[in-house]
């Protein structure tokens, strides 16, 4: 019976069945006939593919958390702008005037310019947000990226087996301790910016393409992680919880009793039990969650203060450097939306009642304190000192203002903005070249903007190839490429550095640490 029916099944029948076939609503026999027809008929096969694409929706690519944060900040800015535009009546009047003017202008244009009238239907060009960070997919692809760096501050850095480390660059399995009057800023895997508060004991336990892990035993640490789609998760293990981050600005604190408190300024954070199996809280921006009492409160001044050095602002048109104000993308209760008023001074101190089981934190002074020992502090200061004696007076004065900011660990993160303005003003002057080097270092360390830093270092080397700090610029250029994950370029730059400075170069060790094959190529081992 089926055979004659089968033979009558043609394109018309297939077209009628197509939608039902796509929705799996055809009986089995009919589905079989439909599929057989498709095999024989290229035209229907093509139509089937197009219908399939029409009926099966595609989801757009997932946005990175940083891109979503930027989007939300953009929404808030637009809302503020809308509110500032005045009443509906005045807006309507302005709109009418604009429309009338635009119509007149268009009419005149059409009268004067001959050509295709189809342009009448063309859409006006709209504002398009350039979303650069989403076009870079991040990730950790090479072991050379799995290092941390101390950017500034004081503290003790030891391997987890107790061996002291003598360099500002450190691998995983490293413990970092600060005394009660110390703090330390660092970068992990070139992506995670962290500010370690006084009296803190934290260990960096691992890094893989999937996760970066830390153990926080005591103290307060702030993190900023603008995670891109392929970047690893960040896990922080505390005595009574595990904190899981996809990308955000937040702090984690462990008191002396081992109780954990998580405060989120931007994005959201999952808090799991200590075994990492059960989510006990989904902490959103603006909230502070105490694990022991399972209670929420508003983010406080202390957490904001510690995170402020990580406060690079994201605008709709790219990243802006920190200027000491609390970014609009951070949710902090009680702060006005007016950017000029978003300062620590306007933030009320909240005195939290500690959990009954918690004891007052007693910070231990660790022995063998170590500061950043390479290019960071000492060399920057030397650069600035040197600059004062060699530059023209006006340039030296301008740079000195940035230097004041740089001199204090509390304001150092704001030096980047100062330097950026300095370069905008004096950038073409060869005497200002050192400012470029400093700006690149700050952009790299505090803003995590490796590409901008690379451009700065390159410009510095073009402007002042024989400068005494050309070696530092070459090293930083290599470091920025490495931390950015541009491994081929990093290897090329590493070879360039070794060609120029091996074997006496100040940073040969650092390059050998991450790319031992480069030194082997030169017969250095």
């Amino acid at each position: 019976m089926n055979a004659p029916l089968h033979s009558r099944y043609g394109c018309l029948e297939a077209q009628e069945d197509a939608e039902a076939a796509l929705a799996d609503r055809l009986p089995e026999a009919a589905q079989q006939r439909y599929q057989e027809h498709l095999r024989e008929c290229p035209r229907c096969r093509r139509a089937h593919r197009v219908l399939d694409a029409l009926y099966r929706p595609v989801a757009p690519a997932e946005r990175s958390s940083a891109a979503l944060e930027r989007e939300f900040s953009g929404i808030l800015r637009r809302m503020a702008a809308t509110e500032g535009e005045g009443s509906w009546a005045s807006r309507a009047a302005s709109s009418l005037a604009i429309v009338a003017l635009a119509a007149t202008a268009m009419l005149l244009t059409l009268m004067l310019i001959p050509g295709q009238r189809s342009n009448l239907y063309a859409l006006a060009p709209s504002w398009i947000e350039i979303d650069t960070p989403d076009t870079i997919y991040g990730g950790i692809d090479h072991p050379a990226q799995v290092y941390g760096r101390i950017i500034s501050g004081q503290g003790e850095v030891v391997a987890t087996d107790g061996e002291p480390l003598g360099h500002h660059v450190f691998p995983t399995e490293t413990r970092l301790r600060t005394a009660a009057d110390e703090s330390m800023q660092l970068q992990l895997v070139g992506k995670i910016l962290s500010n370690i508060g006084p009296g803190t004991d934290v260990a960096w336990t691992g890094a893989s393409p999937h996760a970066v892990s830390l153990d926080l035993d005591r103290g307060l640490v702030a993190f900023r992680y603008d995670r891109l789609p392929a970047d690893p998760l960040l896990n922080i293990q505390t005595p009574d919880a595990r904190v899981r981050i996809r990308g955000t600005v937040f702090t984690v604190e462990v008191d002396d009793a081992g109780h954990t408190t998580v405060a989120v300024l931007r994005g959201r954070v999952d808090v799991l039990d200590a075994a990492g199996k059960r989510v006990i809280a989904d902490v959103r921006a603006g909230y502070r969650f105490e694990v022991a009492s399972q209670s929420y409160s508003d983010v406080g001044r202390r957490e904001v203060q510690l995170a402020l050095p990580l406060s690079q602002e994201s605008s709709g048109h790219g990243d802006e450097l920190a200027d000491g104000r609390i970014p609009s993308s951070w949710v902090v209760s009680g702060l006005p939306s007016d950017p000029t008023q978003r300062t620590l001074d306007n933030l009320i101190e909240i005195n939290y009642v500690p959990h009954p089981r918690a004891r007052v934190a007693q910070a231990r002074r660790p022995t063998g304190a170590l500061g950043p020992d390479d290019d960071g502090q000492e060399l920057l200061e030397m650069l600035i000192r040197d600059a004062e004696s060699t530059r023209a007076e006006a340039i030296a004065d301008s740079l000195a203002r940035c230097k004041e900011l740089h001199a204090s660990p509390e304001t150092r993160y704001r030096a980047a903005l100062c330097l950026s303005n300095f370069i905008r003003k004096h950038g073409d002057n060869r005497l200002a070249a050192e400012g470029l080097l400093l700006l690149g270092i700050h952009r790299m360390d505090y803003a995590g903007d490796h590409q901008a830093a690379i451009d700065d270092f390159r410009r510095f080397l073009e402007l002042a190839p024989d400068h005494p700090e050309a070696e530092l610029a070459s090293y930083r250029l290599w470091l920025a490429a490495t931390e950015q994950g541009n491994i081929q370029e990093a290897k090329r730059l590493g070879r360039d550095y070794l060609r120029a400075y091996y074997p006496r170069g100040r940073y040969v060790y650092q390059i050998d640490q991450r790319f031992p094959e480069l030194l082997a190529d030169r017969g250095g081992r």
Binding site: V50, P57, P60, Y287
Partner: protein, 201 residues
């Protein structure tokens, strides 16, 4: 722009809806909206986090891959947050955001539809004169987007909401504020038109 027109764009015509209709919302959502209406920025962020995916995906399906989508997402949330104080819960937040999306994209879709028709007419004329010249072959997905662009915006909204967003005719009727019979009719016409377009390709 009158208050009525503003309400129409923002889909806030439910401001006059009776309080009893607020049963459309789950208690969590009611609480979230109450916090947003009280000006809690955390609530706005939660709404954005929860619904940006829906809005973005819907725009993607309506417009295809488009550089304006990110900008439109912001416009839609600005409109929603500006109007949230007038939202009385006559529908779910998801439905309300679909409505704002539909109203926001309506003019854009019409403009593009007119432009497409004009372009198609010019192309048809040129092809008539140069019949031997073949157009480039598109892959199925791009061809599908191209065919959707030939669908009248009223029909496209219904087709996308029903087949891509998985909404019921009743829900679409609420979003587009049209009788359910009109929605059913538009869906049939959309399918028929698409079938014709596929066959004529």
């Amino acid at each position: 722009m009158t208050d009525g027109e503003i309400a129409q764009v923002l889909g806030t015509t439910d401001v006059v809806a009776p309080a009893a209709s607020s049963s459309a919302l789950a208690s969590d959502e009611q609480l979230l909206i109450a916090r947003a209406q009280a000006g809690d920025p955390r609530a706005l962020r939660e709404i954005h986090d929860a619904y940006q995916g829906q809005v973005r995906a819907h725009l993607h399906r309506l417009l295809g891959p488009d550089s304006e989508i990110d900008d439109l997402v912001q416009v839609i949330f600005v409109r929603a947050f500006t109007a949230i104080k007038r939202f009385r819960g006559g529908s779910t937040l998801a439905t309300w955001l679909y409505r704002i999306t539909a109203n926001t994209t309506s003019n854009l879709l019409r403009q593009r539809y007119r432009r497409k028709r004009l372009k198609a007419a010019v192309q048809w004329f040129n092809q008539g004169r140069r019949a031997e010249v073949q157009g480039p072959t598109l892959d199925a997905r791009r061809q599908a987007h191209s065919l959707l662009e030939h669908l009248h915006p009223d029909l496209r909204h219904v087709f996308v909401l029903y087949h891509h967003e998985g909404l019921t005719l009743q829900e679409i009727a609420e979003i587009l504020e049209k009788p359910i019979s009109t929605i059913g009719d538009r869906l049939s016409r959309a399918r028929k038109r698409l079938r014709e377009l596929v066959e004529s390709e």
